[in-house]
Amino acid sequence: MGKIRRLVLDVLKPHQPTIIEWARQLSDLEGIDAVNVNVYEIDQKVENVKVTIQGRDISYDGILEVIRENGGSLHSIDEVVGGTLIIEESITLQDQLRTGG
């Protein structure tokens, strides 16, 4: 079966447990090499974080369990990379026109 190598998720979480604890728990999962948890919006009780996970064989279910266990709620899956290599998105002509590049 194909392997997931990178996942980018948008998650809403309570302030506690902190993103340090989240990064620790996510990186403890089997098949994960690196985790980046980035806060981009803070509210009174919750915060929105962008979670980037890279690894050899990422278990999506394991990640969902960590999110659920820590009181988070998954808003969207923003990027998925699978296969034996990690491939970045290709820049198309439309992208260049949109960004003016």
Binding site: L12, K13, P14, Q16, P17, T18, E21, D43, K45, V46, R68, E69, N70, G71, G72, S73
Partner: protein
Amino acid sequence: MNPLRRWLQQLKEYEDIAQVGQIARRYFAMNAFDGVLTMIGVLMGNYSAGVESARVIISTGLATSMAIGVSGFWGAYFTESAERKRDLDDLESYTLTDLNETKIGRASRAAAIVVSLVDGLAPFLAALVVLLPFFFTSLWGEIYHSYYLSLAMALGALFALGAFLGAISRENIALTGVKMIGAGLLAMVLGYLLSPFGG
């Protein structure tokens, strides 16, 4: 990881989430203080009434300390559970998920239990310490020595509590200790004056 280490780590995690330490410390000081002062009241009542049986004082003292313990545990458990449930419901309205079976829900329930145990045990143990000399009355044979020793221990316990609070607030611990002793002395004087044999 061995079970004890895992348990300690989980406790630390719960402490981070539910912030048990601060509130438990507050409850400890407040209720140990209550325990000591209640026992001063019991002792002054017995003293003024001229009770000379260590057995009577021990049984009334134990029953009273038990009642303060139960009252502390019960009151704190229901208050703390209600407050924490409300906080959890509030948080759920933001995350739009059920948080009961998450680390946050478990930490919240564990916090209510830890805090109520502290709230029940602190006055119970503090009251028991004050009562301690009466268990050894047969050693010195004079009940009034037990009374004086108990009251001195009560003042000592109050000083220790004051010093503990002083250490928390980073104030002069001798001064905060003496302030607490003031409450003990006031309770003793009032207890003596209000008794039918006093004043």
